[in-house]
């Protein structure tokens, strides 16, 4: 099966390695950290380029605005902390001191979604994609594996302008081939199908692929798209897919409000109104628990959302 026997690797380590690599090549790359260098893995950059690593302490608002100052002086700052703080605590700093002047700052939120270890609701960013997406000038990227993380970091460093990068905490199966994958801000069809489109990003992409394999056993052909760039949304790829399948299900480790589900509904309601099912956390806070328990409890595993896919196809065929 497509989802079996894949190498599992850490997206955070990939992030740390990618920025360290960049730092060695480009003297303008600087990294700001908020006392979480071992969690975000910016420690790898710190060891490679200590003079360009700035620990800002537990002060996310200051870190974000300081990064804006660096960018105004020609540097390429990557600011890292947990997604909840990058997008929530420092939202207005991101808006006014980075997005508004189009400063070349890369805001990197690790530990996005429910899967933050056992820290519970206070640390689970279920709103970050929504909060970052609503800002003009902001590009929002959420890679699905370590290979995509590395490619996205490279892309972000070359792209001139504000970028929000969401990195999941868990280690995940590798879905891409490192030797050929290049990040291009496009949505990528990972599996073709004709009965239903399933769009996702981040750690739920693998669950969508599993779901598609399970659906195949039941005679349903699912097309799976990795929408790793949530903004700007690759409207063309999504529209072409749904013109073929007629229905779409979005799956994300995020609130059903304002994330990819919201973005897809906005697109389709104005261009091609068709049935949509949003899978995500349903307007509630999370809780402590193991990653696998949380994903199952909140309906983010293939086994828990396959029925919704079948219902959606049946609804279309009525």
């Amino acid at each position: 099966m497509l989802t079996d026997n894949r190498k599992i690797s850490s997206l955070r380590v990939a992030y740390g390695e990618a920025i360290a690599e960049l730092g060695k090549e480009n003297p303008n790359v600087v990294v700001l950290e908020c006392d979480l260098s071992k969690s975000t893995q910016t420690i790898i950059f710190k060891n490679a380029c200590p003079e360009r690593f700035f620990n800002m302490g537990i002060a996310e608002q200051d870190a974000i605005s300081t990064a804006a100052g660096f960018a105004s002086s020609g540097k390429i700052p990557f600011v890292s902390t947990f997604a909840i703080f990058a997008s929530g605590r420092a939202w207005e700093q991101v808006r006014n001191s980075i997005a508004y002047p189009k400063f070349n700052v890369k805001v990197v939120g690790t530990h996005g979604g429910l899967t933050v270890g056992e820290d519970g609701a206070s640390h689970q960013a279920l709103e970050d994609i929504c909060l970052m997406r609503v800002m003009p000038n902001m590009t929002v990227i959420a890679p699905a594996d370590s290979i995509e993380v590395k490619a996205a970091v490279k892309f972000a460093a070359e792209y001139k302008g504000p970028v929000y990068l969401r990195i999941p905490r868990p280690n995940l199966p590798e879905l891409h081939d490192e030797s050929e994958y290049q990040f291009d801000m496009k949505a990528h069809i990972l599996r073709e199908g004709k009965d239903i489109t399933i769009a996702s990003y981040g750690e739920t992409v693998i669950e969508c692929l599993k779901c598609a394999e399970m659906l195949e056993q039941k005679g349903v052909s699912a097309e799976v798209i990795n929408v790793s760039t949530i903004k700007p949304l690759d409207e063309k790829t999504i529209l072409q897919s749904v013109q073929k399948t007629g229905v779409i299900m979005t799956v994300e480790n995020h609130s059903i409000i304002g994330g990819l589900g919201g973005a897809v509904c906005e697109l389709l309601s104005e261009t091609l109104p068709i049935p949509v099912k949003r899978i995500g956390v349903r307007d509630q806070f999370g809780q402590s628990g193991k990653d696998t328990e949380l994903m199952a409890k909140y309906g983010l595993t293939a086994e828990t959302f396959i029925d919704e896919a079948i219902k959606l196809v049946e609804f279309k065929n009525k």
């Binding site: 600087v30 003079e51 360009r52 700035f54 800002m56 302490g57 002060a59 608002q61 200051d62 974000i64 605005s65 300081t66 990064a67 804006a68 100052g69 660096f70 960018a71 105004s72 002086s73 020609g74 540097k75 700052p77 207005e92 700093q93 006014n96 001191s97 508004y100 002047p101 189009k102």
Partner: protein
């Protein structure tokens, strides 16, 4: 320490004359727009004048190489005093005086609060209070990485110091020994809702900055000689102590127009025809 030069009569006369022009231009912008923040613009104009005319190394043409030049950087953290900043940038040739007619108007460059994308000489956007010192730190750190000798000056409002982020940034400046950074507090003692000490007390302000490890100077923010000496001293002191320096400049909100002075009501109000004429006559000494 080198003896700081004393302004002679002629220089003082010239500074006084320019400051009147600056005040008149700022007032006229707010009057024509019928919108803007006049009180805090007038309290900070003398501080800006000595910075731009006598202290900072910079020139409009240096801003073309926006990121890398050796120009000193200025950040107006109290972005609502934009009329004062625009007035001084206009005075020193950063843009054509006709641009000032567009202040706060649809489609114009001179936004209510300064935007770095549209206005030459504006380094970073400000307006949301409390963010300027952090941005100044980022610039100061960047200059140090580049071994660029330029200095960073940042002007904050006193009410603005109620923002928690200022104190996060104050820790950062000290932690990274930013001796190339000089902060100035426009201590006019008034904010929208009244006296700072009634709204949310700031005193003992000098002690607060000292407790954060900063070198502190306190001056009369309308005395040209004192302002000039403080700017010179701040740079030397910073280097000597490997520390950021803050200048608490005691000022008068609405300075220069008698009926606006020390009146919180003139924080964000535009003068009507009579008030405007009266103010201009007073500034011109008529």
């Amino acid at each position: 320490m080198e003896q700081t030069k004393k302004f002679n009569e002629e220089e003082l006369k010239e500074l006084k004359s320019i400051s009147k022009n600056l005040r008149e231009r700022a007032l006229t912008m707010v009057y024509k727009a019928q919108s803007g923040h006049v009180g805090g613009a007038l309290s900070s104009i003398d501080l800006l004048l000595i910075l731009y005319k006598k202290t900072m190394k910079l020139a409009p043409e240096w801003t073309n190489d926006k990121e890398l030049s050796k120009r000193d950087r200025f950040i107006l953290s109290k972005g609502h005093a934009s009329a004062a900043l625009y007035s001084i940038l206009c005075e020193f040739g950063y843009f054509c005086p006709s641009e000032t007619a567009g202040f706060r108007q649809l489609g114009a460059k001179l936004q209510g609060h300064p935007n770095s994308e549209y206005v030459p000489g504006v380094e970073v956007p400000t307006g949301s209070l409390g963010q300027g010192l952090s941005m100044a730190n980022g610039i100061a750190l960047s200059l140090k990485l580049d071994k660029n000798p330029a200095k960073v000056f940042v002007l904050m409002g006193d009410g603005e110091l109620q923002e928690g982020q200022i104190w996060e940034a104050a820790m950062t400046s000290k932690h990274y020994k930013l001796d190339n950074l000089v902060a100035i507090v426009d201590r006019n003692r008034l904010q929208i809702d009244g006296n700072t000490e009634d709204v949310m007390g700031l005193e003992p302000l000098v002690d607060k900055w000292k407790a954060f490890g900063w070198e502190v100077l306190e001056i009369n923010g309308h005395d040209y000689q004192e302002i000039y000496e403080a700017y010179q001293k701040a740079s030397l002191l910073g280097r000597e102590k490997a520390s950021p320096v803050v200048i608490i400049a005691n000022t008068i909100k609405g300075k220069g127009v008698s009926f606006m002075e020390n009146n919180a009501g003139w924080h964000g109000k535009a003068p009507n025809d009579d008030e405007y004429n009266k103010a201009i006559n007073e500034l011109r000494g008529l």
